[in-house]
Point group: C2
Chain length 545, copies 2
């Protein structure tokens, strides 16, 4: 059995080493176009920023080390020019010698990855992208040679924000330009607003709803579609990636609607002797829709599964949750499953709860606000997804919810998860338990209203204490503190009420109380905090002196 | 409907507030013997140590605040003397006035908690225990008045170690005396060894397999069973708690074999109008056995469920995993489910895997070793439990596994959990994924051996590099580095081989390789690291100069 693998990072290398573990006799050849295999691509921005000081730490393996340990035939600086599926042959080119030669295979694994999108705009050649070690070295050289003071990052996605943060760490003044209305598309807008606040707080100039028009003056000036110009010593392009499918397409393999390689649920392409893995393939998300999910976890996982399948094992590739996480300065931002935008598009009947909880017991030092959003089916109670943003414990809560989704745990059953509690780590009711309780309340019919649904005709009732109300409230809201509501509820005008507090808990208590006292009332989910994130123009705040 | 609740902390208060949320008209009376309700009992040690500076932070509610918000009738410093189930009456005593009176109820909730065990030893009256705010104040006064320099903590359980750490923070020299062979009974011994190393490293003198004999010299000297004496300015007794069942027993309610109040799966005692919650009741663990699980999570959860049941809702109380966590200086120690000791006792066929992984990508700064142990059924693949110890991310991994258990995810399916990966948070294969892969390998028949099972007749093969071997190895082991094994395996003597490396990964690769080369071989699970923790006397280490 001879297995040829094209692409020696993440998925490709995961397949190669697993093949060897299962079969000492297989011939395994790994072809890599670049000068490095199995490097730490997720670490690249952090070497630029100086957090990872030693470049060598990113180079996890060499062809020699892989040969010594796994008896792999790894050929770097070698490009696959053409695949001939009928004859089971790949045409290869040694980029150092220029020599072209053929290599036969019994099974072929394509792990070509995805390349940064470069729109054909004037001066685009001056924008640098970050995909591999040579790219990183190029950016570092540019920074060293140009004594750069100001950088423009085009794109407010994961890589864009990681680059922006690391350039700030390196001492640069940084602009981020994002064509959409928010950063980090996997988040819903009210959650993204938290990230935007952090980015701005850290001194970054954020240009939303604007895009690159051209790069002028030999790469020293960025012109945006709005007409704004920004002087730039360094321009990073990070508006997304597209699957590298030239080889697959040329070989006649089927592509999907999103432009990725189409696969069976055993990770085989339209030619059963050819597998594909990683950022170049289309994956099925929780909504059952095909999409590109360029994440390291799935590349590594699928590489191993392909090796299992080639070795005669049964494999099962399910839906991809697309669990993702990114550090944005002091914040951790994590998501799993589907967001509100995706659910709206898919037409599923969903419900939402927000909480802004304490990351651990509030009386123990270091507790920080952790904002969580849970999306679930209003009828079946199935969990669709979650988003978490905070300084501590966001990763933990998203991992718990991703596990709950995988285990078929229903939204209201999150209240029954026995999570580890001691004051430095959580509360006796963990924020994930709280989401479960909130889902239970909603499912039993206790009405809530989302930040974007607030009806201006409603009586807006602020149940916080007067000093909180004074610091800012919904435009037109009246204030009766929760603790006075039993005795003062008669003061409320007739008509439906939207009650709210700071984060939603007191508003919930007010809703329970007022309903029992005969009022028609709904609780503003996530309270003033979520509302203000989503609709900052609809609140009244005192002018800061 | 009139509900009387005896005990105003955790479970009792959780029931009271939930009752009010569900029923504005119910009469809810909460009786509390002490001067405080709803205080943060898990925070008490941290105020003694100074981490929580303000005492007020521990006082979460007052009778007045609970009345204002929830219209509760909270009576502190009131003791319940007797329950008369037939007449639905409780005899109460106001401890301030000395007045005794009766209170009727429709439903009664007992939340008496558990009290520290005080063995009847000479001088035991000089030992202080920590259960509530007055206890904490007493310890603090003692520390202030005596200018204490040395403390002895009797008991190496969760509270004992929390107290020991906080007394060290307060500047005391601390001894911990533990009658058993290890600290923290929920851990298995090789995992507890990691905690013991940390405790000793932090300057604590640990006395294992020794116990309190007597306290002499007016509480200034501790005498142990071994005959050793320790001068002491402060003696803390934390050898465990026993459920407070006097009231329940006197009322004729059934008790279980472990001495706790026996309950139905709707949290009712043998009298259906009397419920009980918290540390005083017996709970069913994952092995289906009744036990005392004195943890805040379940007290809070059950309090709410009781209120639901009283209000006519259907509730379901399942098995208790007993997920628990404790900070021990720089370490986090967390467990869920059953440990090896419990599984052996229950006679279940279980398998074990250990890993010592990196808490996040090893090339990103701050990565620390995270030691994990997973226990699961060898046939059904059901997860039984897990233990985690590390400086970072131990809480996250135990929460994920506790969720997986609840969701019925099988041991080998942990490999398929899509956990959030970016270099500051995890690796592309999270340590929990690794546990899943290890379980999969074991379940498919790849043999491992546990640290306590190593057969001295086996050929012990150390596949680490020579400099690692030289730093310490299994007594009698030979050294062939993994990367040379393909070419040098003929050097191996005939006979079964136990291969090992530092943590188990290279040993696994060696096992795969040697089996394919025709050898009979097993991998030492958890490698040299686990072995040395469990059997420190069986390794050869160079004498430190």
């Amino acid at each position: 059995m001879k297995v040829l693998i094209i692409g020696g990072v993440a998925g490709g290398m995961s397949a190669a080493t697993r093949l060897r573990r299962l079969n000492e006799k297989a011939e395994v050849v790994v072809i890599e176009r670049g000068p490095h295999v199995s490097f730490a691509n997720c670490g690249l921005p952090y070497h630029i920023g100086g957090t990872i000081e030693e470049r060598e730490k990113l180079l996890l393996q060499t062809p020699e080390s892989l040969h010594a340990r796994f008896n792999l035939d790894v050929r770097i600086q070698t490009e696959a020019l053409k695949v001939n599926p009928e004859e089971h042959i790949v045409v290869l080119k040694d980029l150092r010698s220029g020599k072209t030669y053929e290599e036969k295979y019994d099974r072929l694994i394509l792990s070509p990855g995805a390349s940064p999108i470069r729109p054909p705009l004037p001066g685009i050649e001056h924008a640098l992208t970050l995909r591999n070690i040579p790219d990183m070295d190029r950016i570092n050289r540019h920074l060293e040679n140009s004594r750069a003071e100001q950088a423009v990052v085009i794109g407010g996605g994961f890589i864009g924000l990681e680059m922006a943060e690391n350039l700030v760490h390196r001492g640069l003044k940084v602009h981020v330009v994002e064509a959409g209305p928010q950063v980090l598309a996997p988040l819903d807008p009210e959650m993204a607003a938290l990230v935007q606040k952090e980015v701005v707080k850290q001194g970054i100039k954020l240009h939303l709803m604007d895009a690159l028009h051209s790069i002028e003056d030999q790469g020293k000036r960025v012109v945006l579609k709005s007409g704004e110009t920004i002087p730039a010593d360094l321009i990073i392009l990070a508006i997304g990636v597209k699957p590298e499918v030239a080889l697959a397409k040329d070989a006649g393999l089927k592509l999907g609607e999103r432009g990725g390689i189409l696969e069976s649920d055993t990770l085989q392409t339209s030619d059963p002797d050819i597998y594909a893995v990683g950022d170049a393939i289309e994956k099925i998300n929780l909504a059952g829709e095909a999409g590109l999910i360029p994440l390291a976890w799935s590349a590594n996982r699928q590489g191993r599964l392909i090796a299992d399948h080639i070795s005669g094992r049964t494999i099962h590739v399910g839906h991809q949750l697309g669990t993702a996480i990114v550090k944005v300065f002091d914040l951790t931002v994590a998501t799993t499953g589907l967001n509100e935008k995706q659910l709206q598009k898919s037409g599923r009947p969903f419900a939402v709860v927000h909480t802004h909880a304490s990351s651990h017991a509030s009386y123990y030092p270091g507790a920080e606000t952790l904002s969580l959003k849970l999306l679930f089916n209003r009828t079946t109670r199935e969990i669709y997804g979650a988003q978490a943003i905070g300084k501590e414990g966001a990763d933990k809560r998203i991992d718990v919810i991703a596990t709950a989704i995988r285990g078929g745990i229903l939204a209201d059953e999150l209240s029954d998860l026995e999570l580890a509690y001691a004051p430095p780590y959580s509360s006796a009711k963990d924020p994930v338990n709280m989401l479960g309780y909130m889902a239970e309340n909603l499912l039993e019919g206790l009405p809530t209203v989302q930040w974007h649904e607030v009806n201006p005709e409603d009586i807006l009732l602020d149940v916080r204490d007067p000093h909180e109300y004074t610091r800012g409230h919904l435009r037109g809201a009246i204030n009766i503190p929760l603790n006075q509501l039993r005795s003062r509820h008669q003061e409320l005008p007739a008509g439906p009420i939207t009650a709210y507090c700071q984060v939603g808990l007191r508003g919930y208590l007010a809703t329970r109380l007022l309903r029992q006292l005969g009022h028609e009332v709904r609780n503003l989910d996530g309270g003033y905090t979520t509302f203000k994130l989503g609709r900052p123009d609809q609140v009244t705040e005192p002018v800061k002196s």
